[in-house]
């Protein structure tokens, strides 16, 4: 285990003094003062768009403040780009993954500091040796020759972190590292972070999940609308207080009422499907979703969720079995036809599939419904009606926006997700396939989205929920099915299972 020399026992290893960053008229960071003490885990919390990522980017030299300075080892410092930050021992795992597609894990690990023999030839043995050493330190084993594109998310996450260690960083900035991980993976990550801290490293940790934050951090800074609201020791605060500080009001937890099971809506029989390379990923799945209930598929990503979603929605062709919707076989229909028959689909990948970031907010709210007879005649859109409808919809879902004609990328993640949900629930579909509905959304947004899903269910809607958030599943689901290694196992009913049990089932440990 390599230990990190504590650089001159500085008190503030990394911080900001009076940092301000504007984007046009928007002030993303407003005279932010911040100090992460050496050898601590410092959590930064705040709602979507609070300015957390912006501050972190500044601390890593990716961005520069309009005013104020970065503090490194108690001294004001200027960071001329990420390379400079690495020289000062500062590395960051960005909110969106920063791995290069088409490269192997090993190549991504050593990129920008490759061990070479003569002629610029990469010394593979040395690289692999370093990789193995890091593996040991982190307590994982990886297939280093795997392409990034083929690696599951948690593996990518690990590689991102190992890469910082490889570069010798002793300050690790992690922007929402747990957003895409399963509970056991989160636990492993947190254990790893604690070990790293105990070795003397400093960690800046961003998360929307307050349980995690309370569990892992030594200090917490709360940011709201670009300003630091308060910095404190974790031991001196509570989850409830944090939530209130973050959003400026007291939030009531979504209460779970049981649903009223109606007639069966979606029936999958012996459904199986392959991934894009032809590997069997979903094996003979059987399940039914009834009107008025939420059925959750729990599972670690990569266990066949994508194929299950694809086969149900028609995004991919199933290899065998059948899917029927309200009694009609839809197995052979492509996605548009399934949508026309009352299926709605909320994509897990908001930026790439769930929304069109360049299109306007209103357009994103209406897509898919624009061929409704109220909105189109003879192929000509009734723009007036459409705009009015979009406004109504966006207001109903309280989407905070300057104008509906702006590109949707101008919205915060939480508000983007509201638009996606508003669109999918518009027109009262028979069934909603909702995947990771609250990924990367702040607590206020989560509560709202949960409310939407429950109300839809209570109106008689059927929901097939695919999520890695166990809390979410426990809160929402009337029935829970665990997906492990392509197979559906065990079925739990509301109130039956606790998080621990489901977590173990997700890892194939119990039945």
């Amino acid at each position: 285990m390599n230990t990190v020399s504590n650089p001159t026992a500085a008190r503030v290893r990394l911080g900001a003094h009076g940092v301000t960053r504007r984007f046009g008229t928007l002030i993303a960071n407003d005279t932010v003062d911040f100090s992460a003490l050496a050898g601590t885990i410092h959590a930064i919390v705040g709602g979507n768009g609070a300015g957390k990522s912006t501050l972190m980017r500044i601390l890593q030299g990716m961005d520069r403040p309009d005013a104020g300075t970065v503090i490194v080892n108690d001294q004001p410092a200027t960071l001329n780009g990420p390379a400079d930050a690495f020289d000062k021992g500062i590395g960051m795992v960005h909110q969106e993954f920063m791995l290069v597609p088409g490269l192997t894990l090993l190549e991504n690990l050593v990129l920008a500091r490759e061990p070479v023999k003569g002629l610029g030839l990469i010394d593979r043995d040395k690289a692999l040796g370093a990789a193995r050493a890091l593996e040991k330190e982190a307590g994982v084993t990886l297939d280093w020759d795997m392409l990034v594109d083929d690696a599951p998310v948690h593996v990518r996450q690990i590689v991102e972190i190992l890469r910082l260690l490889y570069r010798g960083a002793d300050v690790l900035i992690l922007d929402e590292p747990t957003a895409v991980l399963a509970p056991s993976q989160i636990r492993e990550l947190i254990a790893l972070l604690k070990r790293l801290r105990d070795d003397g490293r400093t960690i800046l940790f961003i998360s929307h999940k307050l349980d995690e934050v309370m569990g892992v951090s030594d200090d917490i800074t709360v940011i709201r609308a670009g300003r630091v609201i308060r910095s404190m020791k974790t031991s001196e605060t509570t989850k409830a207080e944090l939530a209130e500080l973050m959003i400026g009001e007291i939030l009531h937890e979504t209460s779970a009422r049981p649903g009223q099971q109606g007639k069966s809506v979606l029936v999958a029989e012996n459904l199986s499907a392959d991934d894009s390379r032809g590997v069997a990923k979903l094996k003979s799945a059987n399940f039914t979703v009834h009107a008025g209930e939420i059925v959750a598929i729990a599972g670690v990503s990569g266990n066949g969720q994508d194929e299950l979603i694809g086969a149900v929605t028609g995004l991919i062709a199933a290899r065998g079995g059948s899917v029927s919707l309200s009694g009609n076989d839809i197995s052979k229909l492509p996605l548009p036809a399934r949508r026309a028959r009352g299926l709605a689909y909320l994509s897990p990948d908001r930026a790439a599939e769930g929304l069109c970031l360049e299109a306007s907010i209103a357009e994103n709210a209406i897509v898919g419904h624009h061929r409704r007879s109220a909105f189109v005649s003879a192929g000509i859109l009734k723009l007036g009606q459409i705009a009015a409808h979009a406004e109504k919809l966006l207001d109903a879902y309280s989407v905070k926006r300057a104008s509906s004609d702006l590109p949707i990328s101008s919205l915060s993640g939480g508000n983007q997700q509201r638009v996606a949900i508003a669109r999918e629930l518009d027109g009262n579909p028979d069934i909603l396939v909702a995947c990771q509905p609250t990924r990367g959304v702040d607590i206020r947004g989560i509560a709202f989205i949960h409310q939407c899903l429950l109300e839809y269910r209570d109106r008689g809607g059927a929901v097939l929920l695919v999520s890695e958030e166990l809390n979410e599943i426990i809160t929402l689901a009337d029935r829970i099915i665990v997906l492990y290694n392509g197979e559906l196992r065990g079925e739990l009913h509301r109130g039956d299972g606790d998080i621990e049990l489901i977590g173990r089932m997700m890892l194939g440990e119990a039945a």
Binding site: R64, P336, E353, V367, V376
Partner: protein, 353 residues
């Protein structure tokens, strides 16, 4: 303090100028560089630019010549833009111009007994049909088999040029002609002139109509809306229930149809037959026009007029100065390069991030 937050009244009244200045800035830089080249070549840049302007817009006749030269470019710009919109990088409009032009000319010199009311539309429809057919193969390959459309359409350009060259020198050769040309089309097949003593013809009006249609289509048509979304994010469009390969195929065909009409209108309105050298690369300039106009209907119109002006004035200024055609070409290239450049970069401190 207040002044900083809310823009002053003066600023808001002049704010429409900002995009105009931004748009003109690259043109100005291209002209400055061109001036350097001119000066090195021993020509007075100001005089040359004055002459270029006068020969493009200096009189009704010259304006007519400019608009006439821009007519095929409007079509090819639109044809290219419509495919780009769907996310297909179609560089094969040049081929469509050639097959469309030959098809229209063929109808125009073959069915000479028909009246103008039938012959003219028939010739244009023939051009559209052949342009469409020309895009069927790359369209199918792209949408069904995911074969890169850049290669296939580029190859088809070469094939179209050879194929038309063969037809026009063999089966369709005008008797007694020493170079590859079809017979002249019947008078009934000719697009009416808009002005005596000029080549400006009804084709320009058709082009304008297409610009407006394209604009309306993009704004109002469900298909236009879907095409735009599919072009911006195909995965999203698929997940939202659109048939993206189908859309791409349709738009490739539509692109081919408009490209074919570009050739048809050129044959029926200007050249009155198909002849070797029929298209000096209208399809390729169309790519630049579409990109310069940023896919926007009126942007395309303006870009086409700009290139039309340079083409026509580039030829006639040689009558009044010693500026050779290559200087005009250099200028054209410079305008193209810098028209899409963003100089704000140089002045912006943090553009790197």
């Amino acid at each position: 303090m207040v002044a900083v937050v809310s823009p002053t009244p003066t600023a808001s009244r002049l704010s429409w100028l900002v995009p105009v200045v931004t748009a003109l800035q690259p043109l100005v830089i291209a002209l400055l560089l061109g001036a350097v080249v001119l000066a090195i070549a021993g020509h007075n840049p100001l005089e040359t630019y004055g002459l270029l302007f006068a020969e493009s817009f200096g009189s009704t006749k010259r304006i007519a010549a400019t608009l006439s030269a821009s007519t095929p470019l409007i079509f090819t710009g639109l044809a290219t833009a419509i495919a780009f919109r769907a996310g297909a990088f179609n560089v094969g409009v040049e081929g469509c111009v050639n097959v469309g032009g030959l098809a229209a000319a063929f109808v125009g010199f073959t069915f000479v007994s028909l009246s103008a009311f039938i012959l003219l539309p028939a010739a244009i429809v023939a051009a559209a049909i052949f342009g469409t057919l020309w895009m069927v193969i790359p369209g199918l390959l792209k949408s069904r088999l995911d074969v890169d459309e850049v290669v296939t359409t580029l190859m088809l350009n070469f094939i179209a040029i050879s194929l038309t060259a063969w037809l026009v020198n063999g089966p369709l050769l005008a008797p007694g002609s020493a170079n590859s040309a079809t017979p002249m089309i019947a008078d009934a097949a000719r697009l009416p002139k808009l002005m005596r003593g000029s080549t400006l013809n009804a084709g320009f009006l058709i082009a304008l109509a297409f610009v407006i249609l394209y604009w309306l289509w993009g704004k109002w048509a469900a298909l236009g809306f879907e095409t735009r979304l599919a072009g911006m994010n195909a995965r999203f469009a698929t997940a939202s229930g659109m048939n993206v390969p189908g859309l791409v195929f349709k738009m490739m065909l539509l692109s081919g149809a408009i490209g074919g009409i570009a050739g048809g209108v050129h044959a029926l309105g200007n050249v009155f037959r198909y002849v070797s050298g029929f298209s000096p690369g209208y399809g390729f300039v169309g790519i630049a026009v579409a990109l310069l106009g940023r896919g926007n209907a009126f942007g395309i119109l303006l870009a086409a007029i700009l290139f039309g002006a340079l083409a026509t004035s580039g030829a006639t200024i040689q009558l009044f100065s010693d500026v050779p055609i290559e200087i005009v070409n250099i200028l054209q290239g410079l305008v193209m390069i810098f028209a899409v450049a963003r100089f704000s970069w140089i002045f912006s401190r943090r553009a790197k991030s």
